[in-house]
């Protein structure tokens, strides 16, 4: 085990995959400038700066992916992806299907989002669910350093476009990462804490809020299970259903706004497929239908806190 930040874990994952596979290249705004060590090791052809133009960054990634390269592009902040939606959704997501399977798009689009840097709503917008609704793309959002590394490595090896959402609030919190070729499969949730009374389902930074809540609840004699989705698409439906079958209660927690969010999807799946196991209605705790504020207290209050989770569970 090595203790590193998720930010470092991502750089390590990229470097290892670039060493492993000469087709892996990386580009984006300031990528070569910031990853000067990667640039030094792999050269200017494989590590490139680009103009400040997300549309062409994503389109270039899609075109390169379909013709033999495996691009990892850094779009910086998630709201910037709105400039790249055409290329990610219409091209990378759909052209495999449209062409009758003639092309594949093994690319990774990294972006950062979530509370933590007080950057305000045009740099912080948890829009990961938009991509869950887009056919042909996969979506991951890790909660700890080990998964940042392992999921990024899997994303780079995947034959499909993978949207990799990096939670800003986690980037500089060190965590243990297994040594060697640490790969985390896409589409597998992880039970972070076992419990029998309620399932807390989450992803990204709010997994930690769930763990804190579970610790508090344990002191009060309430046994909460914490399920970290890690992949939002494909979603590990089986793990969600197995946990809810055991506990009979589900609280879904995420920073992204509620309407048509990942929580809504999970609530629907539980209602459709585990209704008879439920001892109480499913609860969603989400960010509000509002842009995120820059001001630290408002930004921090946007994501459901451990206190709110404890409160919700105590109402069961």
């Amino acid at each position: 085990m090595t203790t590193i930040t998720p930010d470092q874990a991502m750089t390590d994952a990229l470097a290892e995959e670039m060493r492993r596979d000469a087709r892996v290249i990386t580009f984006g705004e300031g990528v070569a400038t910031k990853n000067y060590k990667l640039a030094a090791e792999f050269g200017a052809k494989r590590v490139r700066n680009t103009p400040l133009a997300e549309g062409i960054i994503a389109g270039t990634a899609a075109g390169a992916a379909a013709t033999g390269l495996r691009p990892v592009v850094d779009l910086l902040f998630s709201p910037f992806m709105t400039f790249a939606m055409e290329e990610l959704v219409n091209s990378a997501g759909k052209l495999r299907f449209i062409s009758g399977g003639q092309f594949s798009f093994p690319l990774v689009a990294i972006s950062r989002t979530g509370a933590g840097w007080a950057v305000g709503a045009q740099h912080n917008h948890n829009l990961e669910a938009w991509f869950v609704h887009a056919p042909g793309v996969k979506v991951v959002m890790p909660s700890n350093a080990a998964d940042f590394k392992g999921l990024l490595k899997s994303a780079i090896r995947d034959e499909n476009p993978v949207m990799f959402f990096a939670d800003i609030g986690l980037l500089h919190t060190p965590g243990e990462v297994p040594d060697g070729d640490h790969v985390v499969p896409i589409g597998k949730a992880a039970i972070r804490r076992e419990g029998s009374f309620v399932t807390l389902v989450s992803y990204g930074k709010t997994v930690n809020h769930c763990l804190a809540a579970a610790a508090t609840l344990a002191e009060q004699g309430i046994d909460a299970e914490v399920l970290d989705l890690r992949s939002l698409k494909p979603l590990d439906e089986a793990s969600v259903l197995a946990s809810v079958a055991k506990t009979g209660r589900a609280v879904i927690v995420h920073e992204a706004a509620g309407p048509c969010g990942v929580g809504a999807e999970i609530a629907a799946i539980v209602a459709e497929k585990a209704f008879s196991s439920l001892k109480a209605p499913v609860v969603r705790l989400t960010g509000p239908d509002a842009p995120s504020a820059a001001s630290f207290p408002l930004e921090a209050a946007y994501a459901p806190s451990a206190e709110r989770i404890v409160e919700a569970v105590r109402k069961f």
Partner: protein, 322 residues
């Protein structure tokens, strides 16, 4: 006749046949649409010289990215008219198994890849294709066909700029057909020539008469030689005219009749036929025989498509993920 002249004559005769095939194919497609036997499609009637001329100059390993007005590029590249027609009709025998329809037909085996119908989509993808080529040992180039409408999209400017900065082996072919769906180009841009815009990004550019197939082919050959030699992009504008509407059916009531009439006078196929007859390259009997053959191929394609099955319903969810 010298050997060189004989080769040129053969090439130009081939170009005429290609253009006739495109015209006949697209008019047949429109006829089937009008008869309720085919979904709608966008035709390139009037622009055949651009497709035939540019594609004739490409090598076997060169790649083509095109758009919703693609039948000409596909047929010029040697696509089977039966399978293109089948795809337009959404049949299982189409090049994309019926999942594309007319708007985004790709034929990877022919190097016609990543066709996108989002106007400008092809421009966003071609830089990636150019990047792959520039990082390989190949001397192949990527050609992207788009219209003056796509040139007004922001992605056009992002694409040309990146290709210039990264020295990508891309031939940009702007088929300036004067129409952007239902809007005349003069309403949306203050320059006559999109190549003027390309100059601003520092890439070599040229405008050619897009209705003169020999001029287009010559310009394309020079452009491609430049790209191969310098590993830099080139911008070729083929100045032409969309003689039919944006998509079928279209009454073209919004088109100035005088403008339409003047461009009909410059119909690329009629002009080439006259020239070849006058120059004695082709006899009227040979021309008639060529037309009979083309009509036969297109009728065969239509029959093939109409008789082909639709894809099974389970195809609705295949080829989504690799």
């Amino acid at each position: 006749m010298t050997t060189v002249e004989a080769v040129i004559d053969r090439n130009v005769t081939q170009a005429l046949e290609t253009m006739l095939l495109i015209r006949t194919f697209e008019e047949k497609s429109a006829e089937l649409q009008a008869a309720g036997l085919s979904p709608s499609m966008c035709t390139s009637v009037g622009q055949e010289a651009s497709a035939a001329g540019v594609v004739s100059a490409l090598g076997p390993n060169d790649l083509i990215l095109t758009n919703h007005r693609s039948a000409g590029h596909l047929l010029a590249r040697g696509a089977d008219p039966r399978r293109v027609m089948a795809e337009i009709q959404g049949r299982a025998t189409g090049y994309c198994g019926g999942k594309s329809g007319s708007l985004h037909i790709s034929v990877k085996d022919l190097g016609v890849i990543l066709t996108s119908t989002i106007v400008g989509g092809e421009l966003s993808l071609v830089t990636g294709v150019g990047l792959s080529l520039s990082m390989s040992d190949s001397d192949a180039i990527a050609t992207v066909f788009f219209g003056d409408g796509a040139a007004t999209e922001g992605i056009f400017h992002e694409s040309v700029n990146l290709a210039a900065v990264w020295n990508l082996p891309i031939l940009y072919v702007c088929e300036n057909n004067q129409w952007q769906a239902y809007v005349h180009r003069k309403e949306t841009m203050l320059t006559d020539h999109v190549s003027e815009w390309a100059k601003g990004y520092g890439i070599a550019s040229r405008t050619v008469d897009g209705n003169d197939v020999e001029a287009v082919a010559e310009a394309a050959r020079e452009a491609i030689a430049y790209i191969r030699a310098n590993r830099k992009p080139f911008f070729l504008e083929t100045y032409t005219y969309r003689l039919r509407g944006h998509m079928e059916p279209d009454d073209q009531k919004y088109v100035d009749p005088a403008e339409l009439a003047s461009w009909r006078q410059r119909d690329p196929i009629a002009m080439l036929e006259r020239k070849l007859l006058v120059d004695g390259v082709l006899s009227s009997v040979e021309l008639a025989a060529m037309k009979v053959n083309v009509v036969k191929r297109v009728e065969d394609a239509a029959a093939y498509a109409l008789e082909s099955p639709y894809p099974s319903i389970d195809q609705m969810t295949t080829d989504v993920y690799a």
